[in-house]
C-alpha cells in the first residue's frame, strides 16, 4: 500500500498515512486532487479508480471516506476488506465509532492503524490481537491521562454537524 487517507464528505482530511517517501508538496497535491476525484464520484459507482499511475480503492462509511492507494498487482477487493477491518477495529475500540471520535482522537486512530498496518503491509489481522496490543499501551494512558470525559461531552457544540456523529458502521453490519 502506498498511502491511506481519511477525509470527510466536506473534503476535510482526517487522517493521512504515507508509506512511500514523498515531498510535502506532492502529498498536498495528491491529497487535493484525490479528494476531489473521489468526492465527485456517485454513490453507485465502482470503488476502484485508476488514478494517475495508481490504483485507488475507496469506501465511504457514513460521513467519512477511507481511501487507499495500492500498487498495480495488489488485490483491490482485499484492500476494501483492509479498510473494513480498520473500521471494525476503530468501532470496537471507540465503541460505535463516529467521525467525531476520529477527529478528536486522531492519534488513537493512528496507533490502531500502526498496529494493523505496518510499513504498508498488513501486520496483524486478528481483531483481538490488535486491540490487545493497543489496550496494553493504553492501560498506562488510562491511569495517567488527567482529562477524561464522556462521549456525550465531546459532542458539545457539534449538534449542527450531526453527520459527524453518525456511526460509521451503522447499517453496514
Amino acid at each position: 500500500m502506498q498511502f491511506m487517507l481519511l477525509f470527510s464528505r466536506q473534503g476535510k482530511l482526517r487522517l493521512q498515512k504515507w508509506y512511500v517517501p514523498l515531498s510535502d508538496k506532492e502529498k498536498k497535491k495528491i491529497t487535493r486532487e484525490l479528494v476531489q476525484t473521489v468526492l465527485a464520484r456517485k454513490p453507485k459507482m465502482c470503488s476502484f479508480l485508476e488514478w494517475r499511475d495508481l490504483k485507488i480503492v475507496y469506501k465511504r462509511y457514513a460521513s467519512l471516506y477511507f481511501c487507499c492507494a495500492i500498487e498495480d498487482q495488489d488485490n483491490e477487493l482485499i484492500t476494501l476488506e483492509i479498510i473494513h477491518r480498520y473500521v471494525e477495529l476503530l468501532d470496537k475500540y471507540f465503541g460505535s465509532v463516529c467521525e467525531l471520535d476520529i477527529i478528536f482522537n486522531f492519534e488513537k486512530a493512528y496507533f490502531i492503524l500502526d498496529e494493523f498496518l505496518l510499513g504498508g503491509e498488513v501486520q496483524e489481522t486478528s481483531k483481538k490481537n490488535v486491540l490487545k496490543a493497543i489496550e496494553q499501551a493504553d492501560l498506562l494512558q488510562e491511569v495517567s491521562t488527567s482529562s477524561f470525559s464522556g462521549h456525550s461531552v465531546s459532542m458539545v457544540g457539534w449538534d449542527s454537524e450531526t453527520s459527524c456523529s453518525s456511526k460509521l458502521l451503522e447499517g453496514i453490519l
Binding site: 487522517l15 498515512k17 465502482c46 488485490n75 488527567s146 464522556g150 462521549h151 454537524e161
Partner: protein, 1132 residues
C-alpha cells in the same frame, strides 16, 4: 503479556507523579476518549466554526506561533510537549508547515515516559520521511528502546523502525533486531520480521546474510510471524523467482492448511480463514509457477481446492477467487483449472455488483491474449460496459478492447477511444489513452501502409507522415512518446537482417532514426549506425534511399564523438561509383573534421524551426545568366513541362520528387534531389546557408500542407465527402452501423425477432469489435458482422479511390482508409489457412458474398490458429515487396485441420476447400505429373489478392515422404502424403511490376525410391490481379483529372456488338471492370490493380469504332489493359 502489565503497573507511581494533581480520572466514555474541552478540542472546534479559508489560515498561524513559543521554552514539561505534538500533527494534517516541531518530536521520543514516547514516535513517523536528516538523531533512541526490558518500548521502537529508518544506520540496529527474532513474544518476533522486511526493501544487501533467519521465520509456530515473513518472500521471489523454487512445497502446504481451516479462529475474517495469508500465498505461487510446468504441477491441487472452498457469497471470498484466477492464468496452464477460472471470471463479469464487474473486465483483459474466446462469450456485457455511466468501467473496457485490436476492428475501437477522450476528464487518463491510440493507429498503421503499399505510395505520404512526427501535437510528452515509439519500432524492424522493405519505408525509417535517435537513451548510437551501414551495403537499396540513409548517418554522427562505423562508411563511399553518395561521403568527412560546424549545421530536433528561404533563388541569378550565355535552354516551369509531356502520348513519367526542390536542383546542378533532408552542402557549404536552408525546408514541405492529423488522430474533411453527403465516412463506425440496422439481413431467426433495435445495434457493434477474434463462439453473430464490415469495407475503398484523385496533400487520408484493406491482408497471410478463408469469404466477390457469409463456420481448433497467428504476425507484418509479397505457404496438417481431412478423403480429385469454393476461382487445371505425383493448380481471385492453390496428389499406393514444393522462392514441405490422397497449399501473390503475363518457375521434389524432382511453371496473367473498382461518377471525374498516364486507342467493333452497352458488357464480364456510368455514346469504367492502383477507362463509340482512353497513375497499366481489351473485343 501479563508480565508487561505487571511491570508497567509497577512503574505507575512514578508516572502519576507527573500529572496535575487537580485532574481526576474520568473514563466515562470508553477507553481513551479525549475531552473536547482540551486544547486540541478547542482548536478543532474553533476551526470548524470558521467560515472562510482565510480565517482558518489566520487562526492556525496564530496557533503555530504560540506552539512554537511553547515547544522552544525550556520550562515546557514533556507532558505539555506531548499535547503540543498532537496539535502540531493536526496542523500538519490541515496542510500547514510546522517543521520547527520536528526536533522536539525526536526529543519527546527520546526523553518522554511511555506515553510521551508513544506520541513522540508517532509524530516522528508522521513528520519525517526516510531521507530526512533529523532521522539520524532518532537512531540512538531506537537502539536504547530495543534493548529495553519493557515490551511496550520494544514494540514502539520496532514499529517506528518498520516505518522509517535511515538506510545507512541499519547496521546499528540489525543485530538487536535479529535477536528479537528469537523473542518469546510473538508480537515482538512479528514486528522484528517486519522491520527486516523494511530493511530488505530499502537496502537488500544489508540483510543478505540472514536469509536463513527468514526461513526460520517462515517456519515460526505463530501464524502471524509466518505471515509477516511472506512479505519478504514475496518481494524476493518477485525479484528472482528461480532462487526459491524449493520452497514451493512449503508454500503449498501452508496454503493447504489455511484453506483447510487448520489455523486458529483468531485469523478468521468473516468466517473465512486468514484471507490475507491466502492471497499472499496465491501471489507467491503465481510468481513461482510462471513459465515453469514442473513447479506449477505442485500447486494445481491446492488451487483447485481454493476455488472450491471460496463459495460463500462475501466480498472476501471474491478477493480470494480473483487472486486464484490470476494465479491460474499466470502459471503453466492446466485446462481443467482454466475452465474453472474462466467460469469464475464469468461470475465476476456478470455480477450486478459494480466492483466485481470491474474486476471481471480486468481479469478478461488479463487473459484475453490466452483466451480470446472468453471475451467473445461476454461480448454483450462488454458492449454494455462501453456505455456504462461510470467512466472507470468504460476505461477498463477500452483497455480490454485495446488488447484485442486487430486489423479488422481497429477503426471501431479507435473510434470508441476517441469518443471516450472527447468526454475526457482527467489528464493522466487522456495521456495514456492517446498514447495507445497513437501506438495502435498511427505508427503501426503507417508501418503497415509503408510496408504493404510499398513504393506505389505517393511520395507525399511519407513526407506528411514525417512532418507530423516532426511538428508534433500540442503535448510535448505525447510527442516524445510517439517519437520514441517510432524509433523503437523501426529499430525492431531493422533487427531482421534480411527483410526487404520498400524504399519509401526505408527512407522514412532513416529520417526518423537520424532525427530522433537520441530520444531513445538505451540504444547506443553506434548500434543504429551499424544498422544503417549494413543497409547501405545492400544491393536492393536504391541510391535515392541511400541518400536518405547517409543524411541520417550524418545527423547521428554530429551527435556522437568519433565513430568507427562513420569512418568506415566514409571510406567505402568515397570510392563509390554513385557520384551523389560520393559527395555525401566527402561532405560527411569534412564535417567530421570540423565538429563545431557540424553541430551548428545540424542542430538537434530543428526540423521544424523556420529557416529563412530565398525562394526567388536570387543568389543563382549569376549562375543562370552564365548558363544562358553559354547556350543553355531557358528554364521552363514545372507545369509547362508537364503539359508538354502530356501532349506526347505514352511519355515516361518524370514527375519530380518534390516540386520546389526540383527547381532548385535543375538550376543549381547539385545532385541533392535524392536528399531526404536536403543536406546537400557541397561546394557552398560554408558560405551559402540560405541555400542549405532552402533545401531543408523543401523536403518536409512544411508550408501549405493542410493538417490532417490532429490530436485526436485523423481529422476527416468535408471535401472528401463530395457526392456522398448522406453516407457516413469511413471512420465514424457507430453511425455507420446504426444506418445499417434496417438494411442488414435479419439475425438468425430465433434471435432476430425478439431483439429490439437497440440490441441489434449492440450486437452489430459487438460483431465489429470482436471480429477476428475468431472461432465458433463468434459464429452466431457472424452473419451480421460480415455484412456490416463488408459494407464498411466497400465504403472505405471508395474513399480510398476518391482520395487518390485528390491533391497531393490529401494523401494523408488514404493512410486512414487504406488501413482497413491493407491490414486486412496482413491477417490474411498470417492466419493463412483459416484466416484468409475467413476474410476472403467475408469480403467475397460482389456477386456471391452476401449469401455465402451466412454459411460460415470454422471448426479449426483455436490453438492451431493462435499459434500460427503468433508465429506469423511478427514475421509477416512487414513483408517484402517482391512479386511474392508474402512468401509463406501454409500447409494443412492432417492432424489439426478439418479441411485437410476432407481433402484427403477425396481421392485424387483435387477440389477446393469448401470455403474457397465459394469465391470466384478458376478451374482446377493440371500443371504436371509424374508416375507418383500429379500437380493441379487453381487460382482464387479474392477481393484483395490472388491465391494460388496448388494440389499435390499422390497417385501411388504408398505414402510419399518429404515432398517439397518450391514456388518462386517459397518452399512448402509436406512430411508425408498418404497414398491416394491430395494435399494442398496456398500462396498469396501480388503483382509488383505491371506486365501482361508472368511465369513463375516452380518445382516439386519428393522421395519415393529415389529423390525425384519435377519442374513446372505457373502462368499468371495481368487479369488475375485486376479487380473492379466501385466509384461514383464525380469521383471518377476527379480521379480522371488527376491522373497523368494515358493511352488512347481506337478499335473496330464487330458487327454483333455494335452498341456501346454490348461492348461495355463484354468488358465488364471478361475484364472485371466496374461500369461507373453511361451517358449517351460515352461510357466510363474503373478497375484497380491489386493492391490499389486504379485504372480508369473512358469509351466512346463513333461510326463502328470504339475509342478507348485509359488513365492510371501507373504508366504500364493502361498498356496492359488495352492489350487485354483488344483481345476480348476480338474474341467476342
Amino acid at each position: 503479556m501479563s508480565d508487561v502489565v505487571e511491570r508497567t503497573l509497577s512503574a505507575l507511581p512514578g508516572l502519576l507523579g507527573q500529572h496535575d494533581p487537580g485532574a481526576g480520572p474520568g473514563g466515562a466514555g470508553g477507553p481513551g476518549r479525549v475531552s473536547a474541552s482540551s486544547r486540541l478540542g478547542s482548536l478543532i472546534r474553533s476551526i470548524t466554526a470558521l467560515t472562510s479559508k482565510h480565517e482558518e489560515e489566520k487562526l492556525i498561524q496564530q496557533e503555530l506561533t504560540s506552539l512554537k513559543a511553547t515547544v522552544s521554552a525550556p520550562s515546557t514539561t514533556l507532558r505539555l510537549m506531548k499535547e503540543c505534538m498532537v496539535r502540531l500533527i493536526y496542523c500538519e494534517m490541515l496542510g500547514y508547515e510546522s517543521s520547527f516541531g520536528y526536533i522536539h518530536a525526536i526529543k519527546l521520543a527520546q526523553q518522554g515516559n511511555l506515553l510521551e514516547k508513544r506520541v513522540g514516535y508517532l509524530a516522528v513517523s508522521l513528520f519525517l520521511h526516510e531521507n530526512h536528516e533529523l532521522l539520524l538523531l532518532l537512531v540512538n533512541t531506537v537502539v536504547k528502546d530495543l534493548q529495553s526490558t519493557n515490551l511496550v518500548e520494544v514494540c514502539m521502537a520496532l514499529t517506528v523502525v518498520s516505518q522509517i529508518f535511515p538506510r545507512e544506520m541499519i547496521p546499528a540496529v540489525l543485530p538487536l533486531i535479529e535477536d528479537k527474532l528469537q523473542h518469546s513474544k510473538e508480537i515482538i518476533r512479528r514486528k522484528a520480521v517486519q522491520a527486516l522486511y523494511k530493511f530488505y526493501l530499502i537496502a537488500p544487501n544489508q540483510v543478505q546474510h540472514i536469509h536463513d533467519k527468514f526461513r526460520k521465520a517462515l517456519c515460526d509456530r505463530d501464524a502471524g510471524v509466518m505471515a509477516a515473513s511472506l512479505h519478504i518472500y514475496l518481494q524476493m521471489i518477485k525479484e528472482n523467482s528461480s532462487g526459491y523454487k524449493d520452497l514451493t512445497g512449503s508454500f503449498v502446504t501452508i496454503l493447504k492448511q489455511v484453506v483447510g481451516g487448520k489455523l486458529s479462529a483468531d485469523f478468521n475474517y468473516h468466517s473465512v480463514p486468514a484471507p490475507w495469508l491466502q492471497i499472499q500465498l496465491l501471489r507467491i505461487l503465481g510468481l513461482l509457477g510462471k513459465d515453469d510446468p514442473r513447479t506449477s504441477e505442485l500447486m494445481y491441487d491446492v488451487l483447485d481446492e481454493s476455488l472450491r472452498r471460496a463459495e460463500i457469497n462475501h466480498n472476501i471470498t471474491y478477493a480470494i477467487l480473483f487472486e486464484c484466477v490470476q494465479t491460474i492464468y499466470t502459471i503453466h496452464p492446466k485446462s481443467e483449472l482454466l475452465e474453472k477460472a474462466a467460469k469464475c471470471i464469468g461470475k465476476f463479469v456478470l455480477s450486478p455488483k459494480i466492483n466485481l464487474k470491474y474486476l471481471g473486465l480486468k481479469a478478461l483483459t488479463y487473459v484475453i491474449q490466452q483466451d480470446p474466446n472468453l471475451a467473445l462469450q461476454h461480448q454483450m456485457t462488454i458492449i454494455e460496459c462501453l456505455d456504462h455511466p461510470d467512466p472507470i468501467i468504460k476505461r477498463e473496457t477500452l483497455e480490454l478492447l485495446y488488447r484485442i485490436t486487430n486489423g479488422q476492428n481497429v477503426i471501431v475501437i479507435v473510434q470508441k477511444m476517441l469518443d471516450y477522450l472527447k468526454e475526457g476528464q482527467e489528464e493522466y487518463a487522456i495521456i495514456s489513452l492517446v498514447g495507445k491510440i497513437a501506438e495502435l493507429w498511427f505508427i503501426q498503421t503507417m508501418n503497415a501502409v509503408f510496408s504493404v503499399g510499398g513504393d506505389v505510395v505517393h511520395s507525399d505520404i511519407p513526407n506528411n507522415f514525417l512532418r507530423l512526427l516532426a511538428e508534433g501535437f500540442d503535448d510535448e510528452k505525447e510527442d516524445h512518446q510517439l517519437r520514441v515509439y517510432a524509433v523503437q519500432s523501426y529499430l525492431a524492424l531493422l533487427e531482421e537482417e534480411d527483410k526487404l522493405y520498400p524504399q519509401k519505408f526505408l527512407q522514412v525509417m532513416s529520417w526518423v532514426l537520424g532525427e530522433y535517435f537520441s530520444l531513445v537513451t538505451d540504444v547506443d548510437p553506434e548500434v543504429i549506425l551499424t544498422k544503417l551501414h549494413s543497409l547501405l551495403k545492400k544491393t536492393f537499396v536504391t541510391s535515392e534511399t541511400k541518400a536518405w540513409i547517409m543524411a541520417a548517418v550524418t545527423k547521428i554522427a554530429s551527435h556522437t564523438s568519433c565513430s568507427k562505423t562513420v569512418d568506415e562508411i566514409i571510406q567505402e563511399l568515397s570510392s563509390s561509383l554513385d557520384t551523389c553518395l560520393r559527395q555525401y561521403a566527402f561532405e560527411l568527412k569534412h564535417l567530421c573534421e570540423d565538429k563545431a560546424l557540424m553541430k551548428s549545421l545540424l542542430p538537434f530536433d530543428a526540423s521544424c524551426s523556420d529557416l529563412v528561404v530565398d525562394a526567388s533563388l536570387s543568389f543563382l541569378d549569376g549562375f543562370v545568366a552564365e548558363g544562358l550565355a553559354h547556350g543553355a535552354a531557358p528554364y521552363k516551369p514545372h507545369h509547362q513541362r508537364q503539359e508538354e509531356k502530356l501532349s506526347q502520348e505514352k511519355a515516361l513519367n518524370f514527375e519530380p520528387y518534390g516540386l520546389s526542390f526540383a527547381s532548385s536542383v535543375s538550376s543549381s546542378g547539385v545532385t541533392g534531389r535524392q536528399s531526404p533532408t536536403g543536406l546537400s552542402f557541397g561546394s557552398d557549404i560554408s558560405g551559402n546557408s540560405a541555400e542549405t536552408g532552402h533545401k531543408e525546408t523543401n523536403t518536409l514541405k512544411l508550408e501549405g500542407v493542410r493538417k490532417l492529423w490532429g490530436k485526436e488522430g485523423y481529422l476527416p474533411k468535408k471535401e472528401n465527402k463530395t457526392g456522398k453527403e448522406n453516407e457516413p465516412q469511413a471512420v465514424p463506425c457507430g453511425s455507420l452501423l446504426a444506418g445499417q440496422v434496417g438494411e442488414a439481413p435479419a439475425l438468425r431467426p430465433e434471435q432476430g425477432a425478439s431483439l429490439s433495435e437497440e440490441d441489434k445495434e449492440k450486437q452489430q457493434l459487438a460483431s465489429t469489435l470482436f471480429i477476428g477474434l475468431g472461432a465458433s463462439a463468434g459464429v452466431s453473430l457472424m452473419g451480421k458482422a460480415d455484412t456490416a464490415t463488408q459494407k464498411f469495407k466497400r465504403k472505405s475503398k471508395i474513399t480510398e479511390t476518391q482520395q487518390l484523385s485528390e491533391e497531393a496533400s490529401d494523401f494523408q487520408n488514404s493512410a486512414a482508409s487504406n488501413f482497413d484493406p491493407l491490414l486486412d491482408t496482413v491477417p490474411d497471410n498470417v492466419e493463412d489457412s483459416e484466416g484468409s478463408v475467413h476474410t476472403g469469404l467475408r469480403k467475397g466477390s460482389p456477386s456471391s458474398s452476401d449469401t455465402v457469409e451466412d454459411n460460415l463456420a470454422f471448426e479449426t481448433p483455436q490453438s492451431l490458429r493462435k499459434s500460427v497467428l503468433d508465429d506469423r504476425i511478427s514475421a509477416n507484418r512487414l513483408s517484402q515487396s517482391s512479386l511474392f509479397a508474402d512468401s509463406n505457404i501454409e500447409i494443412f496438417q492432417p492432424s489439426s485441420s478439418a479441411q485437410c481431412e476432407s481433402a484427403s478423403e477425396t481421392p485424387l480429385v483435387p477440389s477446393l476447400p469448401e470455403e474457397l469454393e465459394e469465391l470466384p476461382h478458376s478451374e482446377v487445371v493440371g500443371l504436371c505429373q509424374s508416375d507418383a505425383l500429379a500437380l493441379h493448380l487453381c487460382k482464387v481471385w479474392t477481393d484483395d489478392s490472388l491465391l494460388l492453390i496448388v494440389f499435390v496428389s499422390n497417385k501411388t499406393t504408398a505414402a510419399l515422404h518429404a515432398v517439397n514444393l518450391i514456388l518462386e522462392s517459397a518452399t512448402s514441405h509436406f512430411p508425408v502424403i498418404e497414398a491416394q490422397s491430395v494435399e494442398h497449399c496456398q500462396k498469396c501473390v501480388r503483382m509488383n511490376k505491371v506486365c501482361t503475363q508472368a511465369i513463375l518457375p516452380a518445382s516439386v521434389s519428393y522421395q519415393s525410391e529415389m529423390e525425384t524432382c519435377l519442374e513446372f511453371s505457373v502462368t499468371l496473367s495481368l487479369m488475375d490481379f485486376i479487380r473492379p473498382m466501385e466509384m461514383t461518377t464525380e469521383d471518377f471525374g476527379k480521379l480522371w483529372l488527376s491522373l497523368s498516364n494515358d493511352v488512347k486507342q481506337n478499335i473496330k467493333m464487330s458487327p454483333c456488338q455494335d452498341s456501346l452497352s454490348a461492348a461495355l458488357d463484354t468488358l465488364q464480364q471478361k475484364l472485371k471492370l466496374h461500369r461507373v456510368d453511361v451517358i449517351g455514346n460515352e461510357g466510363i469504367l474503373a478497375c484497380q490493380l491489386l493492391p490499389s492502383v486504379p485504372c480508369l477507362l473512358h469509351c466512346r463509340t463513333h461510326s463502328g469504332m470504339l475509342a478507348l482512353w485509359f488513365r492510371s497513375p501507373c504508366a504500364a497499366l493502361p498498356d496492359g489493359l488495352l492489350y487485354q481489351c483488344q483481345k476480348v473485343m476480338e474474341e467476342s
